[in-house]
């Protein structure tokens, strides 16, 4: 594990160290409270009735027999919810939680029961009588786009859809600049390929779970595992037409999210069951429910065309990307289209993207949504061109790399970015020149993600004993509590063990956006530093009172208030603890706050190198060596940054080699469980070697960029390129599972 840190980086004492994780003991001893660990007096158990049809019109739902079953306390269907505008995004979220007029995918819920125990609730579900009429359905992108295809939902088309497609094609965008025709003419070789990626699931180990308690006076409490409890409040209060202040949402510990817990699936249902029964209601999804009814990624069908001179210079590039994300609109298609060629400095480039409705579960975000699919296709074609011209794939990427001043493929001109430094680090790493054996191939891919800021509130409280409590509002999915504490301690100049960071409920802090977009260390860190600065100002003010000097004559340095100079006096410096202990006598508690809608997160690039060995008799591909290079900005807690780089890589490896949603011809999901949907386990993998490049982000006081998403982008193409080079066969469809690879090997023979 290496870190490459430019000499210009600010000197730190606590930031950049690797303290023990504050939640570690609780998590390994089982003390940490996850979504399913919460109980309330007189609590009921809720569960959902799901229909195993891909598309059906609901004719009637008869709950009368179920209601008669002893122990059943409430039953709800879509009709129990207040009618809201069908085009309201929150109505669409509700319709995904529980079907309105139509079942839109295999596993779509239609009714929910709350009973005194789970066994009774499940018995009651069997007594609910559903009459429905099966409808024609569409599962694949190709089928859904065709004129005459069964339409999943009418009236969803945006105003800019080109002619010639079915009504399932609802969203379209294009980006780019330059003259493609001239660019392709100038090339010595143009390669055009079509690529396919399957839906894959985020695969978080903790299923969705919540406990809701809603009273008839319109007040409610909700505990849930989520990446954004303020967002849960916004969605649920909109669905129930409640005031925000009347719904308190508390986030539990979270057992993984990766984007999949940025929306709701069961929370409105639990609230409705609670409201109707007058009891708290707990709901916990099964793994099958998670696969069938929570968001996997979009699947994709991508055409990529790239022109290159024999020198390796890219002359033109074009991509047409088609995503399907289930039965409702999404924004992933735009992000994928913008990301496709972001790593390259191109004179002529165009990306187009379509979003297509299908009868599959509604997509949810998954680390860098949309980017892994489009960049997989682009990086695979670039690698094939490198092979064609016998050019070094790293040299070609360095030659064409986006840099400061590059007009990006999605519009804006890049400022300082770290792609070239990342590529150079890969080139200079011993991995790149290490020898390969027979049936082994080396793959490389660039990756990109935007990173975001967003709404953030932090309250930093100086306790009377000189310790510090930081209150923030973003569930900790990647070690943020440690990083935030480190930044607070650094700014205040105190030791880390004096600081504790907690996640507040929605009634205890202002709005915080979801933990997504790789935003938390950047945004919450920025707000924490600003809150600490506000607290330091007040600490200096108190010291000035104690010394009887002007407030401006006090400065804060290394955890102490000092007289600013000889003219201010020669008083002994006062520590934070000294001032805190008498704060009651000098004006009351001391705190700092900061509220911001942060911008300036700074884009991030990564480069992955992988060596694969493919068994030519079985088609099985084994990862021999894997190295990740990423421009992370300042790494606050390098172990967590490395964990993000390793975790994203492993998820990408699963996507590339094994994971896929498999549908039968009747539109039903065939592998909703970890036995048949294989995610990588430790024994599948070598150590993923992370190399952090600390190129500071000028938009953050400590130089932080986001790191959580970029690392899932390059593995798909890096592995595709490695397997293609190992076997001598160019692959264009994921996953590269043994049957697919073996079939190609046998066809070649």
């Amino acid at each position: 594990m290496d870190q490459i840190t430019p000499k210009t980086t600010k000197e730190f004492k606590i930031v950049g160290t690797r303290p023990l994780r504050p939640d570690g003991i609780d998590k390994v001893t089982g003390k940490a409270m996850y979504g399913a660990d919460l109980y309330a007096p007189n609590m009921l158990y809720g569960c959902l009735l799901r229909i195993n049809e891909p598309h059906a019109f609901i004719e009637s739902i008869d709950t009368s027999n179920a209601e008669q079953l002893s122990g059943v306390k409430s039953i709800v269907t879509f009709k129990d919810f207040i009618k809201i505008n069908p085009d309201n995004k929150n109505n669409q979220i509700l319709e995904n939680c529980i079907a309105n007029e139509k079942v839109l995918y295999d596993g779509h819920a239609v009714a929910a029961v709350a009973a005194v125990d789970l066994s009774t609730a499940k018995k009651a579900l069997k007594l609910v009588k559903i009459k429905y009429k099966k409808l024609p359905f569409v599962i694949t992108i190709e089928d859904a786009m065709k004129i005459g295809a069964p339409v999943v939902a009418i009236g969803k088309k945006n105003e800019n859809i080109p002619d010639g497609y079915s009504d399932n094609v609802i969203q379209y965008c294009s980006f780019g600049h330059g003259n493609l025709e001239e660019g392709f003419k100038a090339a010595h070789k143009v390669i055009k390929r079509t690529f396919k990626t399957p839906s894959v699931h985020q695969g978080y180990i903790e299923p969705h779970a919540c406990l809701a308690s809603m009273s008839n006076d319109g007040k409610a409490d909700l505990w849930c595992c989520t990446q954004g409890h303020f967002n849960v409040r916004s969605i649920c209060s909109s669905i129930f037409k409640m005031d925000n202040s009347q719904l308190k949402v508390t986030a539990s510990e979270i057992g993984g999210g990766f984007g999949g817990k940025t929306t709701v699936f069961i929370e409105p249902i639990a609230l409705a069951l609670s409201q109707k029964s007058g009891h708290p209601v707990k709901m916990v999804m099964s793994r099958e429910d998670v696969f069938k009814a929570t968001g996997p990624t979009v699947s994709s069908l991508v055409d990529v065309e790239v022109g290159m001179k024999k020198t390796g210079k890219i002359t033109a590039a074009r991509a047409i990307i088609r995503y399907e994300g289930g039965a409702f609109p999404n924004e992933t298609y735009e992000l994928g289209a913008q990301s496709a060629f972001a790593a390259y400095d191109l004179d002529a480039v165009k990306t187009e993207a379509f979003n297509v409705l299908t009868n599959r579960p509604t997509q949810a975000a998954y680390r860098a949504p949309g980017a892994p699919q489009s960049i997989y296709a682009v990086e695979s074609v670039i690698d094939e061109l490198c092979q064609f011209f016998n050019q070094d794939p790293l040299y070609v990427r360095i030659l064409n790399a986006a840099k400061k001043g590059t007009k990006s493929s999605y519009g804006p001109t890049f400022d300082d970015i770290g792609l070239k430094a990342t590529l150079e680090a890969a080139k200079n790493h011993p991995h790149y020149t290490s020898p390969l054996k027979e049936n082994q191939g080396r793959g490389i891919s660039c990756g990109f993600w935007f990173n975001f800021g967003g709404n953030t509130c932090v309250s930093l409280n100086i306790n009377f004993d000189g310790t510090v409590g930081v209150v923030e509002g973003n569930p900790d999915i990647g070690g943020s509590r440690s990083s935030i504490s480190q930044m607070a301690a650094e700014e205040l100049g105190i030791s880390l063990d004096k600081v504790k960071t907690v996640i507040a409920d929605t009634n205890s802090l202002g709005h915080n956006d979801v933990t997504d977009g790789s935003r938390v260390t950047f945004s919450v860190g920025l707000a924490t530093i600003k809150a600490a600065k506000a607290a330091k100002k007040e600490l200096c003010k108190r010291a000035s009172k104690l010394w009887g000097i002007d407030e401006d004559a006090v400065i804060w340095k290394d955890g102490y208030a000092h007289p600013a100079g000889a003219n201010a006096g020669n008083q002994e410096p006062l520590s934070l603890e000294d001032i805190a202990k008498v704060s009651s006598q000098t004006g009351g508690p001391i705190a700092g706050h900061y509220e911001v809608n942060a911008d300036g997160a700074g884009v991030s690039f990564g480069v992955h190198l992988v060596d694969i060995e493919t068994d030519m008799e079985t088609g099985h591909s084994k990862i021999i060596r894997y190295t990740v290079f990423q421009d992370a900005g300042k790494a606050i807690h390098p172990s967590y940054v490395e964990g993000q780089m390793q975790g994203g890589s492993v998820q990408g490896i699963g996507w590339a080699l094994n994971e896929e949603y498999i549908y039968s011809s009747d539109g039903k999901l065939q592998n909703p469980g970890f036995l048949d949907y294989r995610i990588p386990v430790a024994s599948d993998l070598p150590m993923i070697d992370p190399v952090i490049l600390e190129i500071p982000n000028p938009g953050h006081p400590y130089g932080v960029r986001g790191v959580g998403e970029t690392s899932i982008v390059p593995p798909l193409a890096a592995i595709n390129n490695a397997v293609s080079r190992a076997t001598g066969i160019r692959f264009t469809e994921l996953p590269l599972s043994p049957p697919r690879v073996l079939k190609a090997i046998l066809n070649k023979q």
Binding site: G176, E331, Q338, G453, D599
Partner: protein
């Protein structure tokens, strides 16, 4: 006037040009004036847009100052995972 680059699929909704020119000295004024001058773009702006100003992406900050010589790019509303 501020010159705003729009993304390709919006061109047909805004006189077929890669750029629109509007008055405005901050995010909100520019976005509002695009909606007024180019009604075809209003549905997209209502769905959500970001602005990149001199390479930096702003999701919502209404009062972000914009100079006439700034590079301004209209972008879809950004979200992550």
């Amino acid at each position: 006037m501020v010159k705003v680059k729009i993304w390709g699929s919006l061109k047909n909704l805004a006189d077929g040009s890669d750029y629109v020119s509007v008055t405005g000295s901050n995010f909100k004024e520019v976005i509002d004036n695009i909606s007024l001058k180019y009604p075809g773009l209003k549905p997209q702006i209502t769905r959500g847009v970001s602005l990149a100003v001199d390479g930096k992406i702003y999701k919502e900050s209404w009062f972000t100052p914009i100079n006439e010589d700034s590079e301004v790019v209209l972008m879809p509303y950004m979200q992550g995972g």
